[in-house]
Symmetry: C2
Subunit: 210 residues, 2 copies
Amino acid sequence: MFKRFKIPEATIGRLTSYSRFLKEADEKGVTTVSSQQIARATGVTPAQVRKDLAYFGEFGTRGVGYNPRELYNYIMKILGLDRRWSVAIVGAGHLGTALSLYKGFAERGFDITCIFDADPEKIGKKIAGLEVRSLEELSQKVKEYNVELGIVAVPAAAAQEVVDIMVGAGIKGIINFAPVNVSVPEDVVIRRVDLASQLEYLTYHLGETR
Amino acid sequence: MFKRFKIPEATIGRLTSYSRFLKEADEKGVTTVSSQQIARATGVTPAQVRKDLAYFGEFGTRGVGYNPRELYNYIMKILGLDRRWSVAIVGAGHLGTALSLYKGFAERGFDITCIFDADPEKIGKKIAGLEVRSLEELSQKVKEYNVELGIVAVPAAAAQEVVDIMVGAGIKGIINFAPVNVSVPEDVVIRRVDLASQLEYLTYHLGETR
DNA sequence: TAGATTGTTAATCGATTAACAATC
DNA sequence: TAGATTGTTAATCGATTAACAATC
């Protein structure tokens, strides 16, 4: 879309944090921000900010700075967040339930529209106003709700099978919370979030300072 | 501890995945693995594997390879996982509850030993066999249970205050699930896990392929 | 010894930072 | 115009990969 050449993965993460600062600035009524202000607020260098933005276009005015609202809108467009996304969660256990109820998703444009589980005990129950459905219904509901993104919150042993079903139904982007790597076709984007690994980073760094 | 010079952050993440492969190999009774086998299993180059290990020492035998059990043990030591860690969770909402019940932590040596919440409605309830306690008790319980790591699963507005209490009690490593950046003293390691950002990476990459 | 694989150095690649011309 | 700040190029820094001597 915007991508003309290879963009560092880290740039995308930084754009997210720039956008949060810009939104706040706009809400405060600020009409101009400099790369230095963005940099200070997000903990990077001003050159980094300008370089990150330069990958996608020219959004500022020399000698002046950036308009926070305009730049925010550009970044949201770059990140694909200038519209809402329909998301399915598979796994209605504790984690799946917690994620279904998490308000932060809707705030960033992600609507949890359906929840699935394999356990007959859970099917039919309501979470966040949504009925938990069987995996057999997934394909149909994905079409019905225009689901494009999925979240996997099932045990490791079930993850690959669940992902296959999701991919088969046409889901194009998946977050995997199961502690196992799963494979997907080339055109599907998958990202694994490993909860235990997060703690492992801490213990390594604590050992380091000893 | 092992660190003699600066080690790439990515190396630490890769060590984690090497360790998982090595454990499996050992359990299968394999007595020798090569850097090439480790590389294939974890999706990196053999040179990368050897380089990552070289930061910490010499663990293989030239012409032969590595002993999976030995190398696993070395890596666990490097990561600070050659012992168990006591972890406190603050926030007994849906996410805090899900994390308290998550079995994957104990498997990697992390024992959730106490759970705290500010809400009087939740205090006294039991989650995963543990009583939810008030924040006033945090400092005392941290000492009692030798807590060194903490997980923050509270709303954004409460996160900084909660982190301050944790740091005051002597907790040295924190995972923050609240959607806000919090500050800590230099000697405390903090890592933020932003759930909505995970989905934002997907939408960017989906836009890219359009 | 011949074959294999490590540990390490040198080459390459990529990302960040510094510097500055363009321009408001 | 003078001062400020962008967009971009060049310099630097750091991480990955390739190559190979050491050695089992």
